[in-house]
Symmetry: C2
Subunit: 117 residues, 2 copies
């Protein structure tokens, strides 16, 4: 994924309504009407959000010409976000490992009250 | 993390220069001058990017009054992105599991050439 696509993706995620739409679609496909209802949005504004999500590759239209439901693209761009997080995740995991080994060293050298060392 | 913070965070990540700054800081702290150099940016524009990253909680100033280096906040907001990805990650992992079991079923029922079933 190039930098432009990653920028488009993060921009698409930088909106609470769009994130809520994605969360709804993670549970299963939904029509525009079904998606608009919980947000109290009119069709043009929900359509605009859907277009942004579609252009970022996050959702697509399912093959049902009548209802035209939207569905989440499983994996795809969100796997890219996951991959992008990788070097940062390594850092916080290293921090947890360091804490773990500190605590286990501490419990070996300082037996709890009533315990024989 | 509330929706407002998550929106601020994704907006901060929706810029290739800011993502590159984070990647640089993942390797260790750096001063504004050191950060500006590889991007050929002037101080005001790098400072603006740093302010956006700071407001999103992604970086902070290290305790060195002279050099004022910036450092990555380990974990914090990026762990929130990781947590936000969780329900979506479950979906793509389910898909991989389904593919795995399909392939192992297939290799059990269709022995390779020359193999006795």
């Amino acid at each position: 994924m190039n930098e432009g696509s990653l920028t488009r993706l993060f921009s698409a995620l930088a909106d609470p309504t769009r994130r809520a739409i994605l969360a709804r679609l993670a549970e299963g496909e939904a029509t525009v009407t079904e998606l608009a209802r919980p947000f109290g949005l009119r069709q043009p504004s929900i359509s605009k959000h859907l277009r942004v999500l579609e252009e970022a590759g996050l959702i697509r239209q399912a093959r049902d010409a009548q209802r035209r439901p939207r569905r989440l693209v499983v994996g795809g761009p969100l796997e890219e976000v996951d991959r992008w997080l990788h070097p940062f995740r390594e850092q916080w995991e290293r921090r947890f490992d360091a804490l773990d080994s500190f605590l286990s060293r501490r419990s070996r050298t300082r037996p709890r009250k009533g315990e024989t060392p």
